[in-house]
Amino acid sequence: MDFEFTPEQVELRAELEGFVDERLPPWWGSGIFGEHQDGFIPATVEFCKEMAERGWLTMSWPSEYGGLDSDLWSQMVLREVMWGRGEPRGPQYMNLNYIGPMIMRFGSEEQKARHLPAMARGEVLWTQGFSEPGAGSDLASLSTRAEDRGDHFVVNGQKIWNSYAAAPADWCLLLVRTNPDAPKHRGISVLLVDMTTTGVTVRPIESMAGYGEINEIFFDDVVVPRENLVGEQDQGWPMIVFGLSFERTGIANHARALATIQRLVEYVRKTEVDGRPLAQDPHVRTAIARLYCDYRAARLTSYRIVSMVENGQDPQAEASIAWVYGTRAAQNAAVAGMEIIGPRAQLGTSEHTAPVSGLIAREWLETIPWSIVVGTVDIQRSIIAQRGLGMPKAS
């Protein structure tokens, strides 16, 4: 048992922090979504190319696919630095974190050769086609249809909540139903779809946090060559489970919470109320200290997953616990921060009088979906009850 990073990992953190802080544009603020929609995607692409030049973009990947074979804790350091700074890899954290690893694990040699090097160079944007208007928490009930026509599939249907599809994304990791007669988990396949294919239409959805990071994708007789099928036909569900487990653990929400806590500490120390620093208000002190407790719970439950994986174990309920604590820490920090700031917490980032540059309001807007994406917190609770406590499914 050891609760300390190695000197090499500590050094890596300092190096990464220096690198990121030097490169982020002055308007970056807390990241992550495109309030500066015109500049956001190009900034992340530029950033990823520079990361790639240093080998850091695919640090977690095996060397045979252009990675550094880095240890799991160095990857955690990288995640913490990135998510503590608004994830400047932007859309590409998805490629690196789970779309790439899914192709490595289940893809053909041809697919690996075609897609992995481009991801490793930071030159390609991917989106994911999972949710549908009728398939959210019950993802396996998805109905986007891919008809088998021998050397190709014809795809018809609609996906929704597709991150960065309008960035524009070059490729989509798409879940489709290839066998409508099989039980719902056994008729799903995974396709890699070129987003420039005829019949693919993207419609951006404006979210509470701004424009462009979530979308709908319509598929109208879209032809996808058979060589773009990942793994076996109808055998997509285990791949999705694999991918989702990466997604749940690849986002360092605790680092994001810590960044908000640090902003709040700075704010209450320099802000005076009735001639006294706000930092002396007992309620404010208590509220911020509580955030530190949430942060620690999130950090340690997240670290436990890394330790389990490192020891060859398969975290399931543990991954759900970490995800719930991570989202809770990030959300609580934003909510407490707004309460501490008071009415001016609602001012937007363009208001020059906005406290903390309006970043706490941004954080509140951006963290609302965290308890919904990757399985809602209530789905996570059910996973914990079933897999962690052996309780029966709801009947």
């Binding site: 048992m1 050891d2 609760f3 300390e4 990073f5 190695t6 990992q9 804790w73 955690m76 806590i261 500490v265 209450v268 120390r269 930092a279 007992p282 404010v284 002190r285 208590t286 911020i288 200290a289 509580r290 530190y292 407790c293 620690r296 719970a297 340690l300 439950t301 670290y303 436990r304 890394v306 330790s307 389990m308 490192e310 020891n311 309920a317 543990e318 616990i321 719930v324 604590y325 209530d378 996570q380 609770r381 059910s382 914990i384 009850a385 079933q386 962690g388 406590l389 052996g390 309780m391 029966p392 499914k393 709801a394 009947s395």
Partner: protein, 370 residues
Amino acid sequence: MDLMLTAEQAELQNTARRYAERNLAFQHEPGAAPARPAIETMRAMAELGWTSLGIPEDEHGAGGGVLELCLVLEELGRVGAITPLASTATVVLPMIAARVNGSDPRLREAADGTLIATLGLLDDGARDEWESSAALCARRDGDGWLVDGRIGLVPWAVSAGLVALRCELDEAGPALVLLPTDRSGVVVTAQEAIGPEPRASVSLAGVRISGDDVLASGPDGAELVVSTRDIATVLQTAWAVGAAEAALGLSVEYAKQREQFGRAIATYQAVSHRCADMRMGIDALRLMIWETAWAIDHGRSEVVELVASTKAFADDVFGLTIVNAHQVHGAIGYSMEYPLQHYTRILKTAQLELGGPGRQLERIAIRLGL
């Protein structure tokens, strides 16, 4: 970074679990044999090496530290065992920290399981154990001191031969003092409290303190009081997290068996999600305890905020566990014929003692630069 127990730690945990289940489990059935005297349990635990944990091997101890003690204590909590192991450790560990020689008879007897020791921090008039100004004041008398006062809610004081107290010594400053309970002027009176572990008040009337009783004084004394209180806090939380685990286990089993409206109540998410919330809280708290214990054992500078946040978080988790476990059980959990009450009483005690969330959150705030 590695959050897994070492092979040795896992072995200790397994041994403790097996032994505790067989020999120390709380018996709630009416007519169950009365618990054996605490000192007999201590002797049995001494044979397992648990009373020597935290004493270095070259001082004839079992090695290990606060983390190893936490592992054992959680197992004791898990079966609802009421033993003076933690209480005695809160005296043994500061003796080691103060470099008391391994052959000191008090240390030897504690390690052999023939001496129960305890720590009293709740001075009369103090709101809690963290109040700094309320220490007993001892006046100079020849080459020693005389002290009057009263300490409340001292664990195991009725069975203890030795009690550690914080004192303000005239001319020598703040100190941690070890007093034999048979010293003239010391009166121990059992107190009725809601928890299952015994509590007593310790009254001091003109009690003489000699230099040999003083473990450390002055700045060293002040520091030793702080680190002792930190250790006591972590050990009690570790024991209580075991009780929380037991309350969760009882809840899950009950929910699977209990049928209402034609199905097991575990199939209702209103019930299973209460259990999932307990699972989450207990898991996170256990990791916090381990990290904090590790930091104490390694003399890390962040111990203050780690202890404080562990205790503040424990307050939330224990509160949630008390409410959720009782809700899942319904009326049966309220009955003395069912064991749940034993565990939720332990949790309530652990919430109240050694600094509630208000105290701990303020300590965190200071460390965050507020």
